[in-house]
């Protein structure tokens, strides 16, 4: 780590060599602890059956059998499809509902009652009704065993709403005034001026929602009995943690099925891949600082 030459302010003495050495070792250890488990799981999911059975630190012979078998089996694919539906539909609905509410609550001083609504929403960040009352509500609404039970209860997050509202409050008021004077209706202002100007914050919040929907586990466990409707996280728990064999997971009928461990690793990878795909996009916002502001707000 070439820290010695990089823009050290003139008043800062370079630390002793041993301090730099210890720092480098600590950071390398942290990075390995964070990343190696994931790399190992990905690598093992591609390991050849012989190496997977033998148990190696890092496989050197590779095979796609685990993935072939999983895609033949259908259960995992079904879980992925369910999760994809929940994530896409849920994220779009959440963004629509959250930004609408945030825009309505921007002018708390002028709109009678808005302040009370805002406080009521903020308060929900500090309590929750509990597992059983929520279950009773979903049952009462007839949403048990429906995919919508995984979308609707998480439609608006109070925290995300506040972040979007903060962003809206920073929009140039003159622009919105001007549109109003030109006779644009409130919906038109919202859809054609406010939302396009708020793309950065909507992107970040959209990714947050998407990650939350993709990771949905407990609500599915609670509300969904029908294994056909399980999202991928429940499928993953069943086949990897509870150790149930994946039905029909064979490459072809005349070939022994791939070892359980590679199948498990492959399911983990399939459940993780979408997160890894959106992660670089999220990453862009860490550096641009939107997220820091968001977290602070």
């Amino acid at each position: 780590m070439a820290t010695a030459t990089v823009s050290r302010p003139p008043w800062m003495n370079p630390p002793p060599v041993w301090v730099r050495g210890v720092k480098a070792i600590v950071i390398v250890c942290i990075v390995i602890t964070m990343i190696y488990p994931l790399v190992y799981v990905i690598a093992m999911s591609f390991a050849s059956p012989e190496q997977a059975r033998a148990g190696v630190v890092f496989p050197t012979e590779y095979s796609l059998d685990a993935y072939r078998a999983i895609f033949n089996g259908g259960t995992v694919v079904n879980g992925l499809q369910n999760s994809l539906f929940i994530t896409v539909v849920g994220t779009l609905l959440s963004l629509a509902a959250t930004s609408m509410l945030a825009w309505g609550l921007v002018r708390t001083r002028q709109v009678p009652g808005a302040k009370i609504v805002l406080i009521g929403i903020l308060a929900t960040m500090f309590f929750s009704a509990g597992i059983i009352p929520n279950f009773m509500l979903i049952k009462y609404l007839g949403l048990l065993d429906s995919t919508w039970s995984l979308i609707i209860p998480g439609l608006i997050s109070a925290f995300n709403m506040i972040v979007i509202r903060n962003f809206f409050q920073g929009l140039p008021e003159e622009l919105i005034e001007a549109a109003r004077i030109d006779g644009a209706g409130e919906w038109r202002i919202f859809l054609q001026i406010v939302l396009p100007l708020s793309k950065p914050v909507l992107a970040v919040m959209g990714l947050f929602y998407a990650v939350a929907y993709w990771n949905t586990y407990f609500n599915a466990l609670l509300y969904i009995n029908d294994s056909e409707k399980w999202p991928i996280q429940v499928v993953l728990q069943q086949y990897v943690l509870a150790g149930v064999a994946i039905p029909g997971a064979v490459v072809s009928p005349d070939q022994p099925p791939p070892p359980g461990v590679t199948l498990q690793m492959a399911v983990i990878v399939l459940a993780t891949v979408p997160i890894l795909i959106v992660y670089p996009f999220l990453q862009r916002f860490f550096t641009s600082g939107v997220l820091t502001g968001a977290v602070k707000g």
């Binding site: 800062m12 720092k23 488990p37 799981v41 009678p112 009352p133 502001g293």
Partner: protein, 327 residues
Amino acid sequence: MSVNTTDAGPGTRTARAPGPSAPPQRRKLTLRQRIWRERWSYTFIIPGAAFFLVFMYVPMAGNVVAFQDYSPFRGIEGSPWVGLANFTAIWTDPEIITALRNTLIIAFLQLAFAFPAPIALALLLHSLLSEKVKRLVQTIVYLPNFLSWVIVISVWQQVVGGGGLVAGILDGFGMPGFDLMTDADGFKFLVVAQNIWKDAGWGTIIFFAAIAGIPSERYEAAAIDGASGWQRTWHITLPALIPVATLLLILNIGSILTVGFEQLLLQQPMVGADAAQVLDTFVYFRGVLGGQWGIATAAGLLKGIIGTILVLSANKLAKKMGGEGIF
């Protein structure tokens, strides 16, 4: 443009003094007039407000079953009222004592280890001068936060569980039978280690924001006065992190009875209820799976009330000690 005042934004109205041509009837509007003028706002607010009402406030009323011998078949109307019987039953239930003990031990270990971890990590990363290295490390340590608990536990199972990576290596050295995931004695430390692995990296973000707000002149002045690197960290960086740390501490204390629900639910089958039963999992197993809705709801309700009291008192204490509270 000033003719049609009903539709103009109110921002123009409050700040400006009325001009010479301002009509005298522009006094304060009545409440009804104000509501009518802002009627479009309500089309934006009402659906979202209804959502919070139905999904956050209505279930609160469902907590009345804590005072009932509730069964889903009889419903709330048909279930007999039992007063505080469920609450008194809690005190004599050995399982809930175990759950409470486990919850408190894990919460304490989290406060001791998982809470300071992001602060230490932020300080360490902050001391790196190379932006490139810093960004690379950040990219890596933020990632686990976005993985679900199911994925995290699955990955840990493959690495430190029976037959996993570490077990395989130790087996090669003649030490068979390594399996951290089913070890009841060390389980609570395992839980905290998982917490740190998943969340410490992401937790640094808020501290980075606080560090970025420190003017660099302050470091410069301290350096000129002869302060060493450690002294600068101790006397300049750390004090700047205290407000954020206090805020997080208050929130943490409020959720002290809520320790990683999914995390523990997922691992309980492997390590057993004695080690992994916490209040939330108790409510789930006893209520939803065990059918004792009344007792489970009472336990959940009690937990929620204690949590709210803890947040409010921690907030008050923080204010009393001269810091900033959240509200």
